[in-house]
């Protein structure tokens, strides 16, 4: 443990300032300091992607970033995806309409990764989607309907 460090991170449009231990992971910061628990933790080797968020617009696994590295940066989490009036983001809507989730634990990370994927490649093939999501694991769906959801979101 080292001395705490003050950081300011903008999360879903709101600036937050906290003192954190230098070893604090960004995912821990989001969950424990900011209090947004939609971002889930599924592993301890940066393998599962459940904690995927957007950091300055890019999808990252938030367990691979220290909170202090995110100082001054812009974070978007699953809680920041739907519109203020509750209207789901098109990717969230596509997951709902295509039964792209079952237990829902990997889902926030999947939605964040998939959104980022479409920003880079707005018209992916099925193969592009499967390769693009290979860093995000799901145990329930066999990926079939996740891929279908992302392709549907690309079409919408």
């Amino acid at each position: 443990m080292g001395a705490s460090v003050e950081i300011t991170v903008t999360v879903n449009g709101t600036a937050h300032t906290h003192d954190v231990e230098p070893r604090t992971l960004l995912v821990q910061y989001i969950r424990e300091h900011v209090g947004l628990t939609g971002t889930n933790i599924g592993c301890d080797t940066s393998s599962c992607g459940a904690c995927s968020i957007h950091l300055d617009g890019e999808a990252v696994k938030s367990c691979t970033v220290l909170a202090v590295q995110a100082d001054g940066m812009d974070v978007r989490t699953i809680e920041g995806m739907a519109a203020a009036d509750g209207t789901l983001h098109p990717m969230q809507q596509a997951f709902m309409e295509n039964h792209g989730l079952q237990c829902g634990y990997c889902t926030p990370g999947m939605v964040m990764a998939a959104t980022s994927l479409l920003e880079e490649n707005p018209n992916p093939t099925e193969e592009d989607v499967r390769l693009g999501l290979e860093g995000n694991l799901c145990r329930c769906t066999g990926y079939h309907n996740i891929v279908k959801s992302v392709l549907a979101a690309a079409d919408s």
Partner: protein, 796 residues
């Protein structure tokens, strides 16, 4: 029996209604156990054994206890007085089964890597984890036992007091007359004897386990929040084990991120958090890391299977003999010994076998993580063995594997069919499911392509595999469970409560963790009562709200719990009908109920809606004499039989014989789960199950070194497939309603897993059979495939 090709959508039932669960899960609003904010909670971390088998010589906790922020450190010996009973095993499969005492923390010996040795309570999770590093344990290492044959030999007796590593041997010998099995083998034209290995699998629900216990400040009540499939069973078991009066224990399963059987258990950490919250009077919580999960949560499978088939001139089965050795791991968990027994009834698959069946299973201890239920629980293993062996028999007889199965299928007109075991299979049309699958994958066309491509010297070889299966679900008739020595019943409870404003609350004893019960139960109720499913709320997974239940596992929720919900609706309608008759001054027998309205037959104007009756039942101003106020009914349903979903899966592969790499080309799953409540949910269950079985076939395995160290202890090492590793799945179905229950449903949670591993491996062996390969072990990694090709030694 009515057999239709399409689900019959009557109103909302059978439609692809979108799930009610999804908005909260998609926006991050759902609260999983480790999302809960619990002021004042201490965090527990568990120090785990780095040895598979060792004596604990001493434990020094001084440095850990001195770390700032640490509130307590406890060893197994410290806590012995906190347990009223050892950890439970609810399935003593034989009267003489050996079950070593097992406490939440080891006391004098450890029996697998990951066995808990001590716990720290601290102000934060990170301090607790820092502190366990400071605990100094001196171990006296003993030999590990990691192989089943080695365990059977008793070279090293793991639990010395038992005198042997064999926990039990369970036999099922069914013969028309004495010696019928041996006679059948003696008389057989064809026999096969196959040996298969079911490697250990790590269930890997995406949510690791998590526990939080909150004590009430006065009175001694404890609330246990835990990522479990079984809040009701856990309440009973935890109250006995920790010694808490059962009415003072409330168990809640918040949002649960997948289970697959691994959360169907009573875990040390649940009991530790309970005992420590009671001891210290503060909330205690524990969040499992993934690396802990791979060793401290149960694993699945772990069997060596010997299966022998006897067949006549036509390849029709005349006898089946099975010998299993099943890996229990270091201790017996909740239903560890019963898992292979659940498969005992399925080693003749969907085939018309005479009474000539000989099954025996020996459960043995090893110094590895305990095994227990994993999706399918005994039935994927059984299906794997019979379906792989059927392909071997087809090669022996010299007929196509699909043809061999057709010769052996139980004929549709024989249903309901009393099987050799005495179990009655409810309904089935195996030829139809196989035909649909064959059409979807173009079986004959693929065989022609295969013949053209798999010529001598070809290095890209095609294969096609199939598997026809029974799921055997709807666990279970309580009397059958009694005959298997299982310590609980198999019923399920439901309450349907029509509120004064005609909205409906359903209380269910099932405990969903991804299956969509809120959606499916709402659809059943909406269909029965003629209301909007949005007006139905489903309450579950909290023993204070839903005190009666048997929880969710074994594909039981719909055919037992969902059926109970439908029956409770029928009781509500029956009561409402009496009120309607009273209001309409008609005879109840003359009333018809449809679309939420009671009408007098033949008098179209005489009608009253359910909504009016609900309010009348609430005010109770004018009810028929003797009728109780309010409109509510409870049903506890004990199913008279299992349900028997069935189907055929087919898969095509192309294998590069120079690299051993397998490319799965197409996968077709045709499943018949009876009446479908929501085809989206059915297909989703099949997709996920198929990929889990495919993962066993091609990728996954808990690999241990000879010292009992897990070599695949993280998601970086354990090859759980990603989207890029698996193909799309083509689903097809037939609908053969179950005659056992009024909804005609069968269940579908495990079908995909039960059918898929054998399907994929049959395709793999089929592709290589021209090279002399007759078996490839799972997981069929490129290396394993390459080795199998080279061991067969045939010129390619």
């Amino acid at each position: 029996m009515t057999i239709t090709d399409e689900p019959t959508a009557t109103g909302v039932l059978g439609t692809r209604m979108l799930r009610k669960e999804d908005p909260a899960l998609l926006t991050g609003e759902s609260v999983f156990t480790n999302d809960m904010k619990i002021p004042g909670a201490l965090y527990m971390a568990v120090l785990r054994s780095p040895y598979a088998h060792a004596r604990i010589v001493s434990i020094d906790t001084t440095a850990a206890a001195a770390l700032p922020g640490v509130r307590a450190v406890h060893t197994g010996a410290d806590l012995l007085d906190d347990w009223a009973a050892p950890m439970p095993c609810a399935w003593p499969v034989t009267d003489d089964m050996l079950n070593p005492p097992h406490h939440p923390l080891a006391t004098h010996k450890v029996h697998y890597v990951g066995d808990g040795v001590a716990v720290v309570l601290a102000d934060s999770d990170s301090i607790a984890h820092d502190a366990i590093e400071l605990i100094d344990v001196e171990y006296d290492p003993l030999d590990a036992v990691t192989e089943l044959e080695d365990a059977l030999s008793d070279r090293v007796v793991i639990h010395e007091d038992l005198g042997t590593n064999s926990s039990y041997t369970w036999n099922l010998l069914v013969e028309e007359q004495d010696g019928a099995v041996q006679q059948a083998f003696d008389d057989a034209t064809f026999t096969v004897h196959e040996r298969y290995v079911q490697q250990r699998l790590i269930p890997m629900a995406m949510e690791p386990r998590a526990v939080a216990v909150v004590p009430q400040p006065f009175g001694g009540e404890l609330t246990l929040y835990t990522a479990t499939q079984i809040p009701h069973v856990l309440k009973v078991m935890a109250s006995i084990t920790v010694g808490i009066a059962e009415q003072q224990l409330r168990v809640v399963a918040p949002a649960v991120g997948g289970g697959f059987g691994a959360k169907l258990d009573v875990y040390a950490e649940e009991l530790l958090c309970l005992a420590l919250a009671r001891k210290h009077g503060v909330p205690i919580r524990w969040n499992e890391t993934r690396s802990e999960n791979t060793v401290a949560t149960i694993q699945g499978r772990g069997q060596i299977q010997h299966i022998e088939l006897a067949a006549d001139d036509d390849g029709k089965l005349t006898a089946v003999r099975v010998r299993l050795v099943a890996d229990m791991g270091g201790y017996l968990q909740l239903i560890t010994p019963g898992i292979p027994i659940l498969g005992a009834f399925l080693y003749a698959g969907v085939y018309d076998l005479p009474k000539a069946y000989d099954f025996s299973c020996t459960g043995v201890f090893t110094t590895l993580t305990p095994t227990d239920a994993y999706r399918g629980a005994g039935r994927p293993e059984a299906t794997y063995a019979i379906e792989r062996a059927m392909d071997a028999l087809a090669r022996e007889v010299g007929v196509d594997p699909l043809e061999l199965r057709r010769r052996n299928f139980i004929a549709t007109d024989k249903y309901p069919y009393e099987a050799f075991t005495g179990l009655v299979y409810d309904s089935g049309d195996h030829d139809k499911a196989a035909t649909i699958a064959a059409d979807l994958i173009d079986y004959d066309g693929f065989r022609a392509r295969q013949a053209a491509q798999n010529v001598p010297g070809a290095t890209k070889r095609l294969g096609i595999g199939l598997s026809s299966y029974f799921e055997m679900c709807g666990l279970a008739p309580s009397r059958v469970l009694a005959s298997l020595n299982y310590s609980a019943g198999g019923w399920e409870a439901a309450t349907v409560r029509v509120l004064p404003t005609s909205k409906v609350q359903v209380v269910t004893g099932t405990s969903p963790h991804g299956q969509g019960h809120e959606t499916a139960w709402s659809m059943i109720v909406a269909d029965k009562l003629g209301i909007d499913p949005a007006d139905v709320d489903v309450l579950h997974s909290d023993t204070a709200i839903a005190p009666l239940g048997m929880d969710t596992y074994g594909s039981r929720s719909l055919p037992v719990g969902g059926v109970a919900v439908g029956m409770a609706c029928d009781k509500v309608i029956e009561k409402a009908k009496q009120i309607a008759a009273h209001q309409l001054e008609a005879n109840a027998d003359d009333l018809e109920f449809s679309g939420g309205v009671f009408r007098v037959a033949g008098s179209p104007d005489a009608e009253v809606p359910l909504a009016a009756i609900a309010f009348a039942a609430f005010t109770a101003h004018d009810l028929p004499d003797g009728l109780e106020p309010n409109l509510e009914a409870q049903v506890t349903y004990d199913p008279p039989n299992f349900s028997w979903p069935f189907g055929t899966h087919m898969c095509t592969v192309e294998i590069d014989t120079e690299t051993g790499e397998i490319d799965v080309l197409d996968y077709v799953a045709v499943d018949d789960c009876g009446v479908q409540v929501n085809p989206n949910i059915v297909e989703g269950q099949v997709h996920g199950g198929v990929v889990q079985g495919m993962a066993q076939a091609l990728y996954e395995g808990a690999h241990y070194d000879s010292d009992g160290n897990l070599q695949t202890s993280t998601l970086a090492d354990y090859l759980m497939p990603a989207a890029s590793d698996v193909p799309p799945i083509t689903t097809g179905h037939s609908v053969t309603p179950s005659p056992t229950n009024p909804l005609g449903v069968k269940g579908v949670g495990e079908a995909g897993t039960i059918g898929s591993a054998s399907t994929v491996m049959n395709a793999v062996v089929d592709a290589l059979s021209g090279l002399g390969v007759t078996n490839v072990e799972m997981p069929a990694s490129p290396n394993t495939v390459w080795d199998a090709i080279n061991a067969a030694g045939a010129p390619s």
